[in-house]
Symmetry: C2
Subunit: 429 residues, 2 copies
């Protein structure tokens, strides 16, 4: 890992540069896929599956029978772990429910706000080397708590035309209504446009490679919204002498194994820990199956030393990490001054893995500096707020002249008339 | 207004078709403006102002002196109306504050969620025939309640190089930090990229014409988020015999005067009201200054009759109106079953104008069917949620094996190791 000692603020921008993948080149392909799916529906989906996933399917809906079989094949130990994680995630997300906001802003003017579920949501779960069932927990549980009436899941089939058992088991456990064996751009196009088999959804959630990311961006032009812009995963660890160097190294590696474009930063106010962490990384990395990937990520990773915790904090807020681990003597002061982060992990016994899987917080978080303006997925991601108002005759008599004055000043006479005509009637009564 | 009697659901899609403006043709221009502003900064902004707004400015920052002068020139009556509206809007938005969510999901596993302000927000207020100061109330008040640290406002100058007094007065009253005389695509590009004079913001809010809309869409590719996708304004009125036909007509006209592309729908279960409303519209429209605009909008407007309220409700939810006025005997039942709407106005004395200006609710609402997945602007639009967790040694001893099991099943060994290394240390202690 590269080392930087007390970099000055004018150097911070370069130090925190993220890989700026531009996917503009994939847009034409995405448009082609959307057009094809709009025109040929299910047949287009199955053609793409044959082309990209190398498997020909007669039917890409997952049957109740397949789910039953999957349930019987998932090891008991793993089922229990998933159920425990589900409990914690459920507890944390149901606690996010808010009450109806009801205010009589002045006598007779009653305003309220109510949150209602987004009806139809689509979850995308990537395929690839390992089944990412944890993401189903993170998306389907809040969807269920929110009360979404239709939760659809798409995931690409493997060469045998199957979706991994643990994906089917977890989806079924978390109330997913319909599961489809379709992946990539075509899955996003299908859920956006709807086909005979695949329902059209209102909002799309979930991670994916650059193809899926571009397709999700395109989907926003077709009356669908998405969870957030996607980018490579990031971890910043802020540590002082109170941190355990072996733990810090293990956290850095857990981020590095995600992919060669993972962002890993260690910020420290303790000069001694730098060599210690480096040595521990070297020691631990040799045991990893994904050692090559981790090494590539670490080549771009940085250790940044600051004399003062004030500078370290400023740098932390400047970067705005998706995941931020804080292992400091003085953790409370530091944490209370964090302005920009996706999810914060505090102390020596809070590895990022806990939040990735089972503590209860959501692991779908903004990357690439988007923590400045986006929240991670939470209960509200599956809800929308509607406002209501009811004004009594007395309320309108009191407030009406204010509205008339303002509408008139904006040159909107009919807006004013809608009040005047009512006030006139009331004054005649 | 066109009339439709008991249309069947297969006809609803056509009946509720919105004007589908595609702005793809304006994208190249927007890109050109962004590139120019990126390269030439303030000078580019002033060049565009000269070109489009026909005024050459030496300095496009509004000075404290200009604000002072504006304050002295706004009529006292209007000031009082604006202050009253501000009070109500403040009351309704501060009531939306939520408490920190704190849950011990299992012993020793503490998770919490805290909302923090988005630091820098940019408000765009269009120019044009009338000064839309009400939108400043709707955006700057929640920004202030949220605690945004920098609120920037851009609005185009008139031919004399001025922004209307009431805009300056309202912005200053609502805590806007900096006001700039710059409009159109160049204002959006400036707030997105930042120049020497104009601060770069994190999130953009506010309405605008098709140029501004396209520029806002483009801005999302430059680390900025936006309030919501924009489209022409809409009103649906649902009325039965309990409604006052003159009031209904005035509401329809208040929507119709917005622009020729405004959407106006009357849904009714009372056959007699159809002719009555039509007659009232004809009577009231003749007095309007914006009669021509209103007539164009009404040409595309529809009155839809249903025998049953159940059908009327289904149609209402199918459409998903930005503004929905409900004047029904049986209002509570109906309102409780509304699933999709931006803002709902209930009863004969609750005109849409009330919410547009002064009752307290926000008037920045999703259009074009986006009520299915978007909320109107509210306090949360200016906040982002961060999650935190702290796990005790005992907490990790209990939860650790669950994380290990799941990480292992996902093939993420380093994620597992981050837990194992801690559990090992704890078991050695």
């Amino acid at each position: 890992m590269q080392r930087f000692m007390n970099p000055t603020p004018d150097q911070w921008k370069d130090l925190t540069q993220r890989g700026s993948a531009s996917y503009a080149s994939l847009e034409p392909l995405a448009k082609e896929v959307f057009d094809d799916v709009a025109k040929n529906g299910d047949q287009a989906l199955m053609n793409y599956t044959e082309k990209f996933d190398k498997v020909k399917l007669e039917d890409f809906s997952v049957s109740a029978e397949e789910i039953e079989v999957a349930r019987s094949l998932v090891p008991e130990e793993l089922k229990l772990a998933i159920q425990k994680a589900k409990e914690n995630i459920y507890r944390f997300h149901i606690a996010q429910k808010t009450k109806e906001v009801k205010v009589e802003t002045q006598i007779g003017v009653n305003c309220w706000q109510k949150k209602l579920p987004i009806e139809k949501v689509g979850l995308y779960i990537p395929g690839g080397s390992a089944p990412l069932f944890s993401t189903i927990l993170m998306l389907a549980i809040p969807a269920q708590v929110a009360g979404c009436s239709e939760v659809v899941l798409c995931s690409p089939p493997n060469a045998y035309g199957k979706i991994p058992d643990v994906i089917l088991y977890t989806a079924n456990l978390c109330g997913v209504d319909k599961i489809f064996k379709v992946g990539g751009m075509q899955a996003i196009a299908g859920m956006t446009l709807g086909t005979v088999t695949l329902p059209k959804v209102d909002k799309l959630f979930g991670p994916g490679n650059q193809y899926v990311t571009v397709a999700k961006q395109l989907a926003t032009q077709y009356q669908v919204s998405i969870d957030m812009p996607a980018g490579p995963s990031e971890l910043m660890v802020v540590a002082d002498a109170s941190a355990d160097e072996a733990f810090v190294a293990s956290d850095l590696l857990s981020q590095a194994e995600h992919g060669p474009d993972s962002q890993v930063l260690l910020v420290t106010t303790d000069i001694k820990i730098i060599d210690q962490v480096d040595a521990e990384v070297e020691k631990q990395i040799t045991t990893l199956e994904r050692q090559d990937t981790a090494r590539k990520a670490l080549d771009n990773s940085k250790i940044i030393y600051f004399d003062s915790e004030t500078e370290a904090l400023a740098f932390t807020n400047f970067y705005g990490a998706e995941h931020l681990i804080v292992c400091l003597e003085n953790e409370n002061d530091f944490v209370n001054q964090i302005k920009h982060a996706g999810s914060v992990f505090i102390g020596n016994y809070t590895p990022e893995s806990a939040g990735d899987y089972a503590s209860g917080t959501n692991h779908t978080l903004p990357t690439n500096g988007y923590v400045r303006q986006y929240s991670g997925v939470n209960l509200d991601s599956f809800l929308k707020a509607i406002t209501y108002q009811k004004i009594t005759a007395q309320g309108l008599l009191d407030l009406g002249p204010v509205i008339e004055e303002m509408a008139s000043a904006e040159g909107l006479q009919a807006h004013k008339n809608a009040v005047s005509i009512r006030l006139k009637k009331l004054s005649n009564e």
